[in-house]
Symmetry: C2
Subunit: 140 residues, 2 copies
Amino acid sequence: MRRSRPEHESIDETLRACGIIPTAQRVRIGRMVLTRPTHFSAEQLYERVNLAGNHVSKATVYNTLGLFVEKDLLRRVLVGTGKVFYDSNMTAHHHFYDVESGELGDIDAGEIEIRALPKTADDVQIEGIDVVVRVRRAAS
Amino acid sequence: MRRSRPEHESIDETLRACGIIPTAQRVRIGRMVLTRPTHFSAEQLYERVNLAGNHVSKATVYNTLGLFVEKDLLRRVLVGTGKVFYDSNMTAHHHFYDVESGELGDIDAGEIEIRALPKTADDVQIEGIDVVVRVRRAAS
DNA sequence: TGTTAAACTTAGAACGAGTCTAAAGATTGC
DNA sequence: GCAATCTTTAGACTCGTTCTAAGTTTAACA
Ligand SMILES: [Mn+2]
Ligand SMILES: [Mn+2]
Ligand SMILES: [Zn+2]
Ligand SMILES: [Zn+2]
């Protein structure tokens, strides 16, 4: 169930609407990642959230990210080995991944057509389709 | 440069043709994974290769998998968090991934149409496109 | 508003897939 | 044969992530 996050709605209300108790830590993290579409890793967030005093623990960062994913406020993006990215752009879209720099970019859903779905047995439901275009900047 | 691996060609010759010195360990692993299309993880291979005596070390398993990937004899498939699979089916195809069972299946390339490629700056070359369809067996 | 149970946060230990190290073993060219 | 190069190995190590157990906050409600 996707929910919109209009500007006038506070993070506090967004979290409540998802059944998440808006603790100080969750609101702080929410403000950082839910107010605009952004790609980031757990460690990037951990560093950023702790730049301006008021320490938030690693465990809480991971717990909160997991909770936000569970509540469809964030999605995980799997690219290279050992790298998990989070994405607060919940509209249907895909990604390109620069294998050199590790940079992640968006591809509009309209730019990739999934024509036929695989032969799905009728008890199998599709939970999502992930497309990652691996790119490399040509060596000059 | 994809090479075919006809039945009459021994693993030994396949490896040599790729510039790989066919050591006993590499040939043994090659026989297990290169003679038919198969999906497997490093630890699955490590266990299987060591079932029938003649121990092969973890380091060699990882080194060999990395070497085979580098030489385009295997590809990596990234699915769930912390799960790296290897695939000896080198024809263009995609995957579905059962998020419950962890099972991985093939989707013929023809079943998914990549219509438009993203706006690629001319110095950016596409190295590959990975499509993973996440599926879940409906709770009975 | 005080009491309490449930939910949450925390530091740090633990985990595990994957990599590295340094030494021993194999292969190759001369 | 001899030396140079390449390969394998055990086990230590790394690092992203998860777990644990204790303390803190929140929410329910008397
Ligand atoms: Mn991370
Ligand atoms: Mn594995
Ligand atoms: Zn995105
Ligand atoms: Zn496959």
